[in-house]
Symmetry: D2
Amino acid sequence: MIRVGVIAAVGYAGRELLRLAVSHPEIKITAAVELEAGKKLADAMPSFAKVLDIELETFDPDSLAKKCDVVFLALHGGKGIPIVAALRSAGVRVIDMGPDFRIKDSQLFQKYYGVEHTATELLKEAVYGLVPYYRESIREAQLVAVPGCYPISVILPLRPLNEFLEGVVIADCISGVSGAGRALSEPLHYPEMNENVRAYKLGIHQHIPEIEQETGNRFMVQFTPHVGPYTRGILSTITARPKGDVDVAKAYNRYGQEPFVRVYAEGKLPELRFVRASNFCDIGWAMDRRTGNLIIVSAIDNLLGGTAGMAMQCFNVMFGFDERTALRFGGMVP
Amino acid sequence: MIRVGVIAAVGYAGRELLRLAVSHPEIKITAAVELEAGKKLADAMPSFAKVLDIELETFDPDSLAKKCDVVFLALHGGKGIPIVAALRSAGVRVIDMGPDFRIKDSQLFQKYYGVEHTATELLKEAVYGLVPYYRESIREAQLVAVPGCYPISVILPLRPLNEFLEGVVIADCISGVSGAGRALSEPLHYPEMNENVRAYKLGIHQHIPEIEQETGNRFMVQFTPHVGPYTRGILSTITARPKGDVDVAKAYNRYGQEPFVRVYAEGKLPELRFVRASNFCDIGWAMDRRTGNLIIVSAIDNLLGGTAGMAMQCFNVMFGFDERTALRFGGMVP
Amino acid sequence: MIRVGVIAAVGYAGRELLRLAVSHPEIKITAAVELEAGKKLADAMPSFAKVLDIELETFDPDSLAKKCDVVFLALHGGKGIPIVAALRSAGVRVIDMGPDFRIKDSQLFQKYYGVEHTATELLKEAVYGLVPYYRESIREAQLVAVPGCYPISVILPLRPLNEFLEGVVIADCISGVSGAGRALSEPLHYPEMNENVRAYKLGIHQHIPEIEQETGNRFMVQFTPHVGPYTRGILSTITARPKGDVDVAKAYNRYGQEPFVRVYAEGKLPELRFVRASNFCDIGWAMDRRTGNLIIVSAIDNLLGGTAGMAMQCFNVMFGFDERTALRFGGMVP
Amino acid sequence: MIRVGVIAAVGYAGRELLRLAVSHPEIKITAAVELEAGKKLADAMPSFAKVLDIELETFDPDSLAKKCDVVFLALHGGKGIPIVAALRSAGVRVIDMGPDFRIKDSQLFQKYYGVEHTATELLKEAVYGLVPYYRESIREAQLVAVPGCYPISVILPLRPLNEFLEGVVIADCISGVSGAGRALSEPLHYPEMNENVRAYKLGIHQHIPEIEQETGNRFMVQFTPHVGPYTRGILSTITARPKGDVDVAKAYNRYGQEPFVRVYAEGKLPELRFVRASNFCDIGWAMDRRTGNLIIVSAIDNLLGGTAGMAMQCFNVMFGFDERTALRFGGMVP
């Protein structure tokens, strides 16, 4: 049994990771760190009653080092840096679902997150946890930076096509509201957000440098995120103008053996319902011969395939389990 | 490995059962029966791609008897009778998620379902699959009639209080739209149902005799079902006037050891979110001293704790597995 | 032209009143009071750009008295008392969409709202603004207390039946989230409330004394409010046991001439969609001969027929306009 | 009073037009044509009870000519052609909310709608009912072709920038489900569509030639429509690469006097909630200096500003009323 701790256990990513972890036959959850320390997890989150009997505790790296083989965390930009540094100093393997160790260029990190990176030596050690591309490095990694939800939905469809693209690729993406996390705000108050759609952070979203880094900085990405009136899921619509002929189906053959990437036949398009509550990234595409554009649509569940599911897949790779352990379920429809 | 077949595999109950079954370590899915016979399951339901590679087939009881140890089904009232009869004749154990073998009185069945019951001898054999009350009989059962979704949400909170109640108990329940199944209709067309709530089938709903049978016919149940603008979950609000004093908390102690029933402290109330995508039935209650009424609120996920989850729990009991196998997850919040 | 002011202009009731008022041919909006004083209304609420060009101002009763013939307000329990008192002292007619002048018994007000009533003399003057029952008094009223949303949905269907009922009447009601107003809270954060239903305030809700007062204190009302995952609308399901025979259709004949109450034929039930964005209260009912219970279902749009629409209807009565002015539209479906 | 008839009166566009028309002080609704002829409108659509007392009738152009000054209709591609032809022969003015007279090139019409155009002479007569651009022609028009919902949301933001754009402009649009109308289908069944988003008709949508015609065929439009889990509203996100410098704010100055177009300050973005249930088209934009792209976001209510509201504005122009008559309300928030 692998002893697992979770920091920010009641945050949306932490909750989801714990929800998965209880059904993993090789995981023993030994620590749950949260601000409401002293409370039972099930008192903070009634969904865990009779599921996981654990007391929330404050952050203590030495204590965690003693009782955990690996610690997952998910904190806002910059907040995770000292936590991860302390955990690594104490010798714990870390799977970071937050953004702090994804961007290799600390200048870019500072520019987009508005926070100085104070653990740049760990940036070198960190492995980007996009399993289909970094499987081998993840196996031995001491620190895994799980990709962002939007980046997963954009990088997986684009990266096999890197060599065929140039200029500016348009990524118009829409996310369910859970992507914004637990923090209250007027625009996310139910009566304001229900039946509403909006775009936000045009041209300045912090996922831009992550996407461009992981597509090889071969083209710019015009990333326009939207939020829509539903809880889970990201649908990304990507429009690109290929240079010359590109055999898209062939480029996607690399995903044939991936357990959680599904590529549709040309012209068939994914929908959120088919990936809901699952770890899958579904990819569909069509060539528009009239305009010369390639349009790709991808779908993930932002909290699973986009966060906690990808993190669990990383965990399975790191500890030598079948990658599908605790992740076997398909989309929940309806 | 237990070899499992599912009839009406693409219906909402069948899909959900299959979704659970793929993560059960002791299940091998050997047959999926559906009208679209000849198609791959994943072609009918893209959510199963890379999850379950099986071809849909037509109903053939002998073929199913050869390759299945147990068959699940979920058909509309009356449609399951000949199917179950044929399966039982062929010697297969059956877990029926439909309504055909729940009501012991075939006259009542005919009255509420409008169909004559043509297999009354099987009614005697059938065990009502409400695990907390029929666990021992389920263990040896050849035919299990999984309770209806509304009945589960009403019987579980009421049955421990049977002896304290009389007269008419009011059960106002609201279900998500998935409870109505896959069949298209104008009132369930998205733009009509979204942002809508309605009551329906006042005084004539087919779940009335099932609820009254399983609460011992000690009181009548005024059952008023509603449908609301969401996909999953039943919240049942039950108002009853106890005769004399009743120690509600004590009466509910019987659920202390139940893996999937959670009783809240007095005055705390369950919500759909805490049971979503889980097998739990959560129960809360309050005594209103002003009016003398006891108000009980229960919450289930109608497709899980209300159908496929309860069916899977029956399966686990029948085949001697830990009841929580493939059902370990708590509510999915958000 | 009647000169109208609105206090709490950006609150959900205030906004809705303003939205209606701009299409009223005899209204000139002369004041909008809100905390964001100094801002343009359209800067606080972009929906009003090119619709209503007015600057938000702070509360000044003398200033309002000079420029308004009538002032609408909607504040939380107790907050409106000094405001209304000041306005009345300044001689302005007031239409209060808040709860402060609905309950005639100041002891009951204090018990349920937790606030002492400091203007009991105005309680005597205040007219309860339920148009079908107080039309004549409203005509001359200086202070109208617009009924609460839940009370409207329960009183309108019950009051014609007052003489036939006794004991405890059960009112299980479900409201859209807008009923809770603008204030942020974790349970109303979009990802928590979406796909969720819950009951709340069992036996202690502040609308109980209002409902019982206006149904003549002939029976108690077991009022159980719920909130569901949609923005607007209240569906109330009322279960009562009539003494002796009652000709329900005949009792409801009194609504035949009411412009905004629609009674359905026996067995036909209203739905939120048919009243959405309208001022109607729709009423349906069925007698369950098996149990002897009468079940009534009513539907309103809580912000219109339940608040601002009823307030506008009061206004039309007070100033002698056709009651339907600015309220002519039927339900918005879809 | 102008005498108005509506064909397809219970369709989503027809209903909405009628809902508006009842509050128009100069309209008398004299005919409602629908398949359920013989029924009262309110029996087909309970939302119209006590609002509009009219009997549905079958289509008879001569009868309509006698009792209507103008007829509105909304039928699927091609179905409206003979109807409009008959009405025009009978001398009635027509406002067609369907697609049959929008595209001037009958070859293109046939290519995208799959139907031959059998009234090409009426194509010449028809005026495209986009009020800000065709106000003068609409005034005298005998046949107005109201623009499509998506086209309105794309043409209004693009047309002032026509001269600055070239190549391919990307329009990723998302519509509420009401845009698909009343016809039942599995993907629009509530439990399938709720919490779902999908793209559809990539590169082949019938609104492409309409958009390109009305932006002067100066650039191609890569139009990618999506449908999201809500009832009303289109949010269009348009990405374009201007040639040289463009003063966007200045180009949009033309909308300063338009009653129903609102342009936001640079960087401010519209949301569906601000236009919900209103006739407005809101436009926001930002220049992304990093990529050189201009991103424009527009929001409309597809059934109002996108259909029936625009049709009513056309009507007001045709008959000399204030354009805002029956359309004065701002967005309904919440």
